[in-house]
Symmetry: D2
């Protein structure tokens, strides 16, 4: 698909609302249109790099080198590349789902081939409305608060429910729907996984987007150019044909797809946050130099802390790649322990790194003039004169640097990022719990028992005593 | 002054630019107008509570009770009440300035009386453009990068320069201008303090404001109602008559006003952040209850951490009030040590508290629909159905709660707050340094010497050994 | 009682074991003897300051000034002064206990008078053996794992059990025994509070003490002079006459005494940790000066962080005193909210402050020679030559300074302190929970509701917007 | 060399003082003897695993597999294995030193071969006395405060000075002496690197050792079995023949050896701290299970935090191995960036992990009875009864578990560890600085410039936007 074809493909009758308006054409909206054009550019760039026209994002990674190439591509590309994990997760889950019903594997393989042929993009559709979190799906007073099968016929099922925080929902082609957690006996109607075209009848999205509205988009160097919209996707009696249904009532297997996806989600997240860490360091160093404070000890200390943060996150990524293992199908899977620990660390300390950046940059992050101010001939000379600091750092450059920092960390996009980096992967508690699950705690207990001589007859362990 | 008279008083020919436009009437701008109307309400509220028409913000605090009343008023009022500290600082500095020139004290007293009579409001005008931070004012390649006296005549001085991060600059009457730091011999032209009416010829402000633009203001429950604008104030050959000049070349005294102001700034900041801490706790508890997670242990833990944060900040405020001392003029001054330590703690850990709030609230902080979505009859039933969680928590209430959290912590206003809470008081390094300065480190050294028996013949100190 | 009389009073047949030996005379043991002599000194000092012979530690505090005087005395005295809180807690609890049985109040008042007359000291005897923490007292497979009444006769009760972590148990006169928590119906045998003389038949203590053994006590400037022993107190069929029984089966009131004590424990703890914070700062500054690094920016930064820590803890103490309230009996009670928040902060961050101190001091904290090395004429010249740094900082002084830091933070005493400061007050979770309980969360919720306009018809709250 | 031969080799006339006494035979001292026997065991174990008698610690690592094998050996062995880094560092530095004087390389190669043949062990002898840290070596009022050449003859040089914090100095054969930092012109006498046999005339060591003294060694399960002594090594007119001199006046090359060593020191440190992290987790989980609290949410949270700590440190180790590069000589060198970042993180957060462990374990870490108490038949039944918690957790086991935790984290050894883990690698500031040095900050700046559109004409970078 070319970028132009991609843009055309979005004019398919989908129902997407933004700021209260159901958009007749998502590409015509200033915010969503920018986001779509960014994805379109990616289509063209990937095509140009692969003259045989085979999209590498559909390639199944089988070696450490494949894995690294994939994660490099994720860091360099728009988010829809990372979101292809949705179909990788389906492939990973297929053998296990086949134990419930062999047809599920066949449908997944067929679906994968079809999507690859059409070169489409996906949203990961997981989080339910959930209602009262202290009650299970079946005890909510409105049964639709978790997505469920409400009806069926000879051709397929009919589903109801809403899914939240759907990144890029308004701008992809396929919604890969799965349960948010393991269901229990009696909750069969909630054990449903399937794929739904975005423009299916009964699908409505209420989108949010942190792009600048009404104001000077040029003063938002990142979000004025593109941002990723999120949406709530409502399924109101949506019919899904059986060939697109991959789980249908088997509560035992209800968490399999989400679990397979979690692995890819978190390693993608670590890759993105490693890059984000580098970006934070870069902005901090640029603004320290522009302000003339890059040699002040406490500034250097703060930047060094940011360097250590970025490096530790990347160490987790590298360890996850170096320690990758093969699934029984021969796909390569990044090490989950390292990926999760690094994801947790990245998310937990991100706000402190933003604080360091703001502490270094100073108040002009909030108070720098806008591009419109700069256009005004009565104001421009003042900006040129007073934002400037030294030869090589003129007022225009420094103003733009403050715009970058504000846009990414202290404005609508920055606020969305604070929430998103934290919540992707399920919030700090979930990330901590998953890390704990993958850690070999029995080995650690054994190490302690041996160090303390708590096992009769065993050779004592070496206490880690090296301070060489 | 009534609220209406206040609004009238802003139509005085002042030059204020916002988003590239020089506003003919600041009260007519949607953002600045809201801010002005909020101040106007405060004028009326204070008047109604004090039937004799004497504005309590001009009352000199002389007792602990006065101090507490003042700080309560600061917490309950718009920021212009706190900014009255500018004239308190002048009064505090007056005796010291009089040692340089007795006229300064006379001028300050006269200015204070005049302002009280007119019932005007102030901006604290301190931070210079600064240029290359590694060079002193006199070594910048543009001498105006710190505000300075460029000319004088028999009636007064003429000043040039720009002052940054001027909270409420566009909406007050008086600019209280002072040097940002102690000047050195040879920097006499930079040792200037004075008061300048906002509408003086040569004064231009380039304002910024985090109010919502173009979008649905109702989805921003706080910033859609009012926000505090900041500005860069440019002084372009502004003439200031001598009766408004309080320092004019005496480098020894150049930091006196800023230092006097620092005390009030930080204790005001602690008062506001104590209240902010309570607000964060309140939002966290409301959203935990609305989501049905308020009894989950890790949620309770996070809220307890926020409670401890809010309480420690308030403990600093209370200790600062309880330990207040009198100046030689009989004014009461809050304890600086406790105020500074609490201010530092509040600023340093604020981003972590915001993270806790986001971790508790979940992704809907970023993805909740807008009020305009709610107005759309095709969308409203979905919002009512899927944002709702339980009896007593309907979709509308929960959506609005997410709006509040997003507006205050994860959108344009929230971003500005991240920067402002950190930078007010001068950034973490400055706050740390000031705290250290007020701490009695000789007493601490003596305690250590005695505990270690390092002083021959002295009675050993009690080591603090109580684990009762 | 004079110091000498106090030492005599400890030779009363008490059964105290240390390092495997039941001591015939606790004052004859090098470690416990030092601790006892330290308390004896305190007896004499307090007497000399109060010529009428009335011991101020028995004075009931009724005003803020009394409270401050008491907390000053706690900071300056050995820990038995703080432990007098045990009887204050009984007095505070008396009215409530009287509702269960009026005799309890009478017995407490009589006991208090008797103790005051005899000028004795107390241990707070609370923490049970507890067995499996996941089971209640009545479900343990050994019923004695919580202390309980196993028999009774016309004169009194017979108790069995063990109490852990009893500070100064070996060196006081009276064990004030109370349940560790609220008991439930069916657990009446565990709802027992009473006072037991240390030398009662059936009472055995297994003591621990962090004083230096076998090595050069002079190289431990604090613990070589005195340390507070802890003990496990075993009650093996101990008979307690009814006049010393203050609770006997009333499960509803079982937590009353411990709760009353908690308040005093934590405010005493805050007072001690405020002083400890100052001591840490003092050691850091002394060693920075001795090493010639006190002007290095990152060293100054670390000390400033320690200053802020010490100041915030003291702010909590001051706010707790300033906000004290009266009980119905007219006793003054420190504010619990501020005391608990500060106690939590002090305990949670203490290890990081120790880390800062070690980072400043360098490796000689671990590797400085001992006093015995210094006595050796073949080694002394080397120590004089190579531990010395500059005029005024000779090798002996610097060696002793490292001894102080090692003893207090990086040796047997230091290790015990890491555990004790953390666990006193019940561990971080308990401290957090108690703080939360005393915080007015409904007021915080109301503040949030008003800020967000979530209450129809109510006046919106001022958002804390002051960045003056 | 066999273990027995190693013990014999220590009776070589070396001058080692401990606790004020110059020991005639280090192996006869209880503390140093235990440490020596531990090393002896290692000699025998390594020999038995390598039947050709070639000691693997002398093998030059040339591949990633070699490197991993070496670091595994470091984790499993006594610290003298890690200390072999001293000669690896000499080898790494040899090409660079040869540029100053080709003889240096020859001498190093010859020395290496000789040591391998003799199968000896090394101490890394770096840190000078330093005197006043604010002055350079040549400005100290005692010129010996940095080690220096004071004389020379036709056969060699004569050196004076003291070196601090020499791990295992009393128990190795060879002292590898090097300058602590880069010297400046005029400081030629301080630019000296050489190898000195421990028993050389004029070498005196003042040792420290955290083994238990006078008390029951069995209550110290780790330090009662073995600990690593440190020492101050004094060089009092020590003659070093030229064939053992590797640097002699060339200030330009003075930091080369220390820099080469730093790499190996820090990666060894990361390997040890990764293992230490696992040990902390193991102790925490064992004691949580023994107390019956392993299912309590806040306990699980704390252990999960410890798991993440241990995993991140190990991720740094794994990334350092995976990213290893070859030196020009074909030796493999671990990646410095990842090793340093992980070392910093491990050192900075270690005290908080210890705090978590103590918070989980409870006060019995400090107050558990000793083995001698357990031997006493009057006390043992009480310990059996009251330390026990549940079937499978008897009193003896639980007491021993508390001994382990206390010994490693809250007693003399634990205190020494707090200092050592922090200071190895040079303290937090040095570790931060080195990490910063190895980070590609220009790439980060470029990323920021491209994200912000700050480079005219360049293609904008992808903002890391993936929240898949």
């Amino acid at each position: 698909m070319t970028g132009e074809q991609y843009l055309d493909s979005l004019r398919d009758g989908r129902r997407v609302a933004l700021d209260g308006v159901l958009l007749p054409d998502v590409t015509a909206d200033p915010g969503l249109g920018n986001a779509a054009r960014w994805v379109a550019t990616g289509y063209d760039r990937i095509r140009s790099g692969y003259p045989d026209g085979v999209n590498p994002i559909y390639q199944i990674p089988r070696t450490v080198e494949d894995l690294r190439a994939r994660l490099d591509l994720v860091q360099e590309s728009d988010v829809t590349v990372a979101l292809t994990s949705a179909v990788l997760a389906l492939l990973t889950a297929a053998p296990r789902l086949a134990t419930a019903n062999p047809a599920y594997r066949e449908r997944i393989l067929h679906y994968f081939e079809d999507c690859r042929r059409r070169d489409v993009r996906f949203a990961e559709v997981i989080t339910d409305a959930k209602g009262d979190r202290s009650l299970p799906p079946g005890k909510q007073d409105d049964p639709d608060l978790y997505l469920r099968v409400v009806d069926r016929d000879g051709d397929g099922i009919v589903i109801n429910g809403a899914k939240f925080h759907i990144t890029m929902g308004p701008l992809v082609h396929e919604l890969v729907v799965m349960p948010t957690k393991r269901m229990k006996p009696g909750e069969e109607q909630y054990a449903v996984a399937c794929a739904v075209p975005v423009n299916s009848p009964g699908v409505t999205q209420i989108a949010t987007s942190p792009h600048p509205r009404g104001s000077d988009g040029r003063s938002h160097p990142v979000s004025g150019r593109h941002t990723d919209p999120d949406s709530i996707v409502i399924f109101d009696h949506v019919h899904v044909p059986y060939e697109r249904v991959f789980l249908d009532g088997e509560v035992e297997e209800s968490a399999v797809v989400a679990h397979s996806l979690g692995l890819w989600e978190r390693v993608n997240g670590v890759a993105d946050m490693a890059r984000l860490g580098d970006l934070l360091v870069g902005m901090a160093q640029l603004v320290a130099e522009a302000n003339g404070v890059d040699r002040i000890p406490h500034i250097k200390d703060k930047i060094a802390e940011m360097v250590i943060y970025a490096t530790l996150v990347r160490a987790g990524l590298e360890a996850s790649i170096a320690g990758a293992t093969h699934t029984e199908d021969g796909m390569i899977a990044p090490n989950e322990l390292y990926a999760n620990a690094a994801k947790y660390h990245a998310a937990a300390h991100y706000p402190v790194m933003v604080r360091n950046l703001h502490d270094i940059a100073g108040g002009a992050v909030a108070t720098a003039p806008s591009m419109a101010d700069y256009d005004n001939p009565q104001l421009r000379p003042y900006i040129d004169k007073y934002l400037r600091t030294m030869p090589g750092v003129d007022g225009y450059y420094r103003m733009r640097l403050f715009h970058l920092i504000r846009d990414v960390t202290a404005d609508a996009l920055g606020g969305r990022e604070l929430v998103s980096w934290l919540q992707s992967g399920g919030g700090l508690f979930a990330q901590r719990t998953v890390t704990r699950k993958h850690y070999d705690i029995e080995a650690a207990k054994d190490l302690a028992r041996r160090a303390g001589g708590l096992l009769d007859g065993a050779e004592p362990a070496s206490y880690p005593d090296g301070h060489g």
